[in-house]
């Protein structure tokens, strides 16, 4: 098994946006991250650092500060002078308020979570009161009228840089009346708030200190600089047994190549993000108690969901960008070669269509039908459906103008296998079934989530995965409360609910022949659920015993797509960012862990040829970093890669570091 011809695709110009600010909510163990394009992402740290929610950005929104209130309320403030509260169930902004002070540079919430303060361009600090369903303006602290207790002047810096003004980028106020400031001369300074005097200066770098964060129990400060280093200061006593403590610079991390614009600290790790678009979670070894997935350095580079859709019959790929969709037809070759050879491309891949979105909101999901005649995408404010006609060289696209009124926005879109129906996971946690045809689009049915015994109100969590069976009878949906519902499309009613497993589903697919549902979760666990029998299959129970997921946990990225081989029905292909693997369900599962480890490390092929034939698990990590893997007809495999160096070459300018000998 496992002989394919591979389309190696590198023309998806996926470009993530830089990270601007972040806030960690220790009660909910979630991190909220805001990017430069206005999008907000929420990572669930207790669920293997899975990217739980993504709120798409907006061209007019700019975010400078982000703040949690309680467990489930999220606010951002930006340079357009507006404060936005987000609806974390519907994944869109709930409302926006103008603070009337010009661009807002910073925001802070008090520890009792009753008031918000926003620092505005006009020099005033505006206080807002936090009410259960909104925030309300309370008063204005003008810069002249407010009590200026102490006026502190920040020195310009070492002799060479004196001709430039020093800008204080960050200030933090500790409960023992110490002020910490980070400025553009690269200094982290500690001041006494009562007397207004400087306690200590730490020169951290030659460039700006762009971000500063204080830990919850105020014993550690983390600062991020323009050159990509993250420096930690801890409150320690210089002599053992001494009670007097002072701030000492302890650790330096260099995981970034560009400016670090956001840092925060959790109980066991330092989280940093910046203009190189990567989120780095670095564990602090003295705080980590158990050697588990917490103790591994993690870098989140690609989103934890698929941005590529594939129409298998006409060999079309649909790429989703925040502002447009691109449709490409795969190229081809006429030569046949030996395994391991790369074949010359006779027909080049061509870009058939570039579809730009209308309005300011970014695209949040998109899909193409199997036959390649229908394309649909959704933003937070609208859904659009297009009909595509593709004669040999002419492509025409027409927008379907009259969509059923029930469709307003979608979290996930999926066409049925015969391309006659469109399944829309709406923002209200319901799934609409729309019949799609050349003449008209009609709303057929709406599936509502089944309320459980334990959740009598019915879950309103957003649905992030949809899977339809090949025979058109079953539809499954997974939502962000880890619930998976199965619906019967022929009878148009709810069939059953898969037992809830405490980890978020990351990918889901229904086997075309056996109608078994395969689900992978954020903690790398994989289950197979028989839809007709309404129980887990035997193969799934055997897989649990092998414990493969524990090995995969450290290698870190979640599985984003599962697909099947039409030529060999027992094969399951799944992939994450670094590898794709084929699991043969007909072969025995013994020694799965050993197979996994042996294939990860490169070995001489002659030795391992024989034992390999009986392996149930085969891994290929030749193609990486992967964005999508799919199987076309005739043993063709499509592999969409995005080399990291291509992303790095398009990043903004880094600082110039003079190295000896260069």
């Amino acid at each position: 098994m496992g002989e394919f011809k591979v389309h190696r695709v590198r023309f998806f110009d996926f470009m993530p946006s830089g990270i601007r600010c972040m806030a960690f909510n220790s009660k909910a163990d979630r991190l909220a991250l805001a990017r430069l394009d206005g999008s907000v992402e929420i990572f669930n740290f207790s669920n293997n650092y899975f990217q739980e929610k993504v709120i798409p950005g907006n061209d007019s929104r700019s975010i400078e500060a982000i703040c949690w209130v309680g467990c489930d309320r999220l606010f951002t403030a930006g340079l357009n002078g507006e404060v936005v509260e987000y609806d974390l169930e519907r994944l869109c902004p709930k409302y926006t308020l103008d603070a009337f002070g010009g661009p807002i540079w910073t925001a802070a919430c008090n520890s009792e979570e009753t008031h918000f303060a926003f620092g505005c361009e006009d020099g005033s600090v505006k206080l807002f009161e936090i009410l259960p369903d909104k925030i309300q303006f309370e008063r204005n602290l003008d810069r002249q009228k407010g009590h200026s207790v102490q006026r502190i002047l920040v020195d310009r810096g070492p002799a060479g840089t004196r001709n430039k003004d020093c800008v204080v980028w960050n200030v933090a106020f500790l409960s023992d009346y110490t002020i910490v400031s980070g400025d553009s001369a690269g200094k982290v300074q500690l001041w006494d708030a009562n007397k207004g005097t400087l306690i200590k200066t730490h020169l951290v770098s030659k460039w700006d200190v762009l971000s500063l964060s204080v830990s919850e129990n105020e014993d550690s400060i983390v600062a991020g600089t323009s050159e990509g280093t993250v420096v930690q200061f801890q409150l320690l006593s210089p002599k053992i047994g001494d009670t007097e403590t002072q701030w000492v610079r302890t650790r330096t991390f260099k995981h970034h190549t560009h400016d670090v614009r956001a840092v925060t600290e959790t109980r066991t790790a330092v989280v940093s993000g910046g203009l190189d678009t990567q989120l780095v979670i670095c564990p602090l070894m003295d705080k980590v108690e158990v050697k588990s997935s917490e103790s591994v350095l993690r870098k989140v580079i690609f989103p934890h969901r698929s941005l590529v859709s594939c129409a298998k019959k006409p060999s079309l790929l649909l790429f989703q960008f925040p502002d447009q969709l691109e449709l490409w037809r795969l190229g081809g070759t006429d030569t046949i070669g030996k395994p391991g050879e790369s074949l010359p491309v006779t027909r080049k891949p061509e870009k058939l269509l570039q579809l730009k979105r209308k309005g300011d909101d970014h695209i949040c999901c998109s899909t193409i039908s199997e036959c390649g005649h229908w394309i649909a995408y959704s933003t937070v404010s609208s859904i659009r459906l297009y009909q595509l006609q593709c004669d040999n060289n002419n492509i025409s696209i027409t927008k379907v103008s009259k969509l059923p009124k029930v469709l307003r926005s979608a979290h996930q879109l999926q066409f049925s296998a015969d391309s006659s129906k469109l399944f829309v996971a709406s923002e209200q946690a319901t799934i609409h079934v729309i019949s799609v045809s050349r003449s008209e689009c009609k709303h057929v049915h709406t599936f509502k989530p089944k309320s459980d015994v334990f959740l009598p109100t019915g879950s309103s969590a957003p649905v992030h995965l949809l899977a339809a069976s090949a025979d058109g009878q079953w539809l499954t949906s997974a939502n962000r409360h880890c619930e998976i519902n199965v619906y019967n499309l022929k009878k148009l009613k709810h069939h059953c609910m898969v037992p809830v497993y405490n980890s978020l589903p990351s990918a889901m697919a229904i086997h075309p022949e056996t109608n078994n549902l395969l689900v992978t979760h954020a903690d790398q666990q994989m289950f197979e659920f028989g839809i007709v029998d309404k129980q887990y299959t035997d193969w799934s129970r055997k897989l649990q015993k092998e414990g493969l997921h524990r090995c995969r946990l450290k290698w870190g990225t979640p599985v984003t797509h599962i697909t099947f081989n039409p030529q060999a029905p027992s094969q399951v292909i799944l992939h994450d960012m670094h590898m794709f693997c084929i699991i043969d369900q007909s072969l025995p599962l013994d020694g799965l862990k050993a197979q996994f480890y042996s294939q990860l490390t490169p070995k001489d092929t002659s030795e391992t040829d024989k034992p390999r034939k009986n392996n149930a698990l085969k891994i290929c990590n030749k193609y990486q970093p992967l964005l999508h893997v799919n199987l076309l007809e005739d043993d063709w495999l499509v592999v969409v890669e995005r080399p990291l160096i291509d992303i790095h070459s398009q990043l903004p300018a880094p600082v110039r570091q003079k190295k000896f000998g260069t």
């Binding site: 661009p103 540079w105 303006f137 700006d208 070459s649 300018a653 570091q657």
Partner: protein, 226 residues
Amino acid sequence: MATKQRGGVDVRRKKKRNIDVKAIVDLGADYSDDDDDDDAPEEVTFEKAKADAVRSMRNALDTIKRDKELLKEKRRKRQELFQQQKKRKLLSEDTLEEIELAYTKKGKTLDSEEQEKEESEEDEESEDEEEVVNARLKESYKAVRLKDQIDANARQESASDFIKSRLYGPGTNRTTTNHMLSLKNKTGMNKTAAVQFVDKKWGSEKKGEAEKFKKRWINNQNMVAK
């Protein structure tokens, strides 16, 4: 003694006459003066002088009145001109009526405590105006409140420009990503070439000229062949 007296009387009379002459000159008399004290002053009766004086005063008052009136006229004309210009700028009476109707329909009440409500209402107002005006204007035109938009955008632009200039402006020591990656290649374990070894912009002029020459040459060859 008599001569002294006479002289004295003469001097006094002369003085008086001099004073008289001065008075006549002050009143803007038409008499041409020789400015010679030796000449005998001309005989002017009191009535005539008085009449002259009165006349000249009246003239002066008249000129003042005339000037005032002229100014008034000017001001009035200017005011009218401005009003006409304003009328041309403003919307016609009909649209104003429609806007009034739309305004009263919504029935807003201002809450002085919450200024956000105020502003959102104003936005609603402007939206109504826009809707009403949009209905009348052609599709390619759109009514927007200029002052709100320009201000907010300008401030946001200036704020983001400030950040950009501090991070990437003059004085910051920035280099290109190509340079940074090439340094990594150079200092790494396996030393390789720079990431972007050749800059495609180099010699762009010469390349352009070469292209043109090639086209011309091919053209010539074709012409010769024919």
